[in-house]
Amino acid sequence: MKEMANKALRLGIIGAVAALLLAVVNNFTEPVIAERMTRELTEALTVLAAGGTPGAVETEPAPGVPQRWPIKGGKGWILELTGTGYGGPMTIVASYDTGGTVMVARLMGNNETVGFGKKAEDSSYMKIFVGTGGNRPVPRTKADLGADADTVAGATVTFSGITDALRAGSELVQEWEGR
């Protein structure tokens, strides 16, 4: 019995020391991690705001839009959108001016295939949507792309998922802006 207690005690000590150590280290790293994450978010939003300043976040302003941020001074909106790609749901963030025209767009979380849909993560891929949505409609099919069609070749599903989401975003913005 005494031996058992002895062993339990030793194990307990090892455990406690380990837990304590981790708690201490966690104390240092947690704020660093948290701070880095907010910094990354603001950096991203600043890029998206295309010169403007992002405002406070709102959640679930509309179905299919988990989050949105106004761009201060009524210059437009930054939306988090969801689309359906080849590998299931994809997260897309995009900023629109008040006319519903895409200013900047990024493909974030996704399960697309490396070499196929994944190439949509490249900024050059998303450039083909910039400037569409307002006066120029968001491209619907590959045929609408003209010279850019090659960029999306081999990944039509991803392409449709992204363009559907962006179009929906544009329509929402126009609705909010009362057009």
Binding site: Y86, G115, F116, A153, G154, T156, V157, S160
Partner: protein
Amino acid sequence: MERLPLVTTSPQIHAPGSTRRVMGWVLAALVPAAVWSIVLFGWRAALVITASVAAAVITEGLLNLAFKRENTLNDLSAVVTGVLIGFNMPPEVPVFIPVVASVFAIAVVKWSFGGLGSNWMNPALAGRVFVFFSWGTDMTRWTLPGIGGADAVSGPTPLGSVKLALSDLSAGIDGPMRLLESAGMPTTYLDLFLGRIPGSLGEMSALLLIIGGLLLIILKIVNWEIPVAYIGSFALFMWAFDGMQYGGGIFSGDVLFHLFTGGLMLGALFMATDMVTSPLTLKGRIIFGLGCGLFTFVIRRFGNLPEGVSLAIIFMNILVSLIDRFMKPTRYGVVS
């Protein structure tokens, strides 16, 4: 007597036949389809097929040399693999792709396991799937066949078009043929049967493949069990469940469309039947064929990959050893 008679173990006589003869007949049965693909796609088809055969043969020859194994080129199995790889390529494929497929097939899938007879996965199909997943865009660029192939126009395969068109299907279209029509690709069953549709080089004409396949079955080079079980179960599944996508009920699928498009005939007659990578016994082969049919159906009906036949067969290849293990013949005088 000038020379001594042979001393051999029984049996003293053998049925006529040899590996070389078996492979030779397979090649002969593939000739009509090869000729037809050259007619349809021109010199490019010849180039692709030649390149894959050459790569397969050279790889096998070099490996034999490098590892001091006896020369196995005479058995012609590497040529069969090469031809089938060529057959599985789209016409406009960059030539390095069939070459890599052949090298992978022979070096990795066949030689690593011990060469002819020792591999458990179909080399040509593994090679084809390998390059498909590596260079998918190049492997899905199709051209419309035209006699001579001179002014080939690019376009998706019927299966591909149907998949695309299905995604924004409007009401009132009752099957794949109507769907093709509405997608601006009017096609008749005869077109499908004769290969006047985009597709891989060797899978163009169901007719020529069936003729070749029947020849092999009649000559008893291949067994009937796998093609019959494969094509039969696949047709049944398609008939039963494919109509539903078009708003039809059960048993309203367009079987003919599915039988004559894509690589089904090539796969079922020439690739699932590779004896090295299919089961040893009759029961086993029927199970294998049924499995191929089921998976081809599932991948074609639900998947986005244009690869139903290849993937279904190599998936079933995995199961062959287990099938052989459990589907042994009942032994004489042994009660289990």
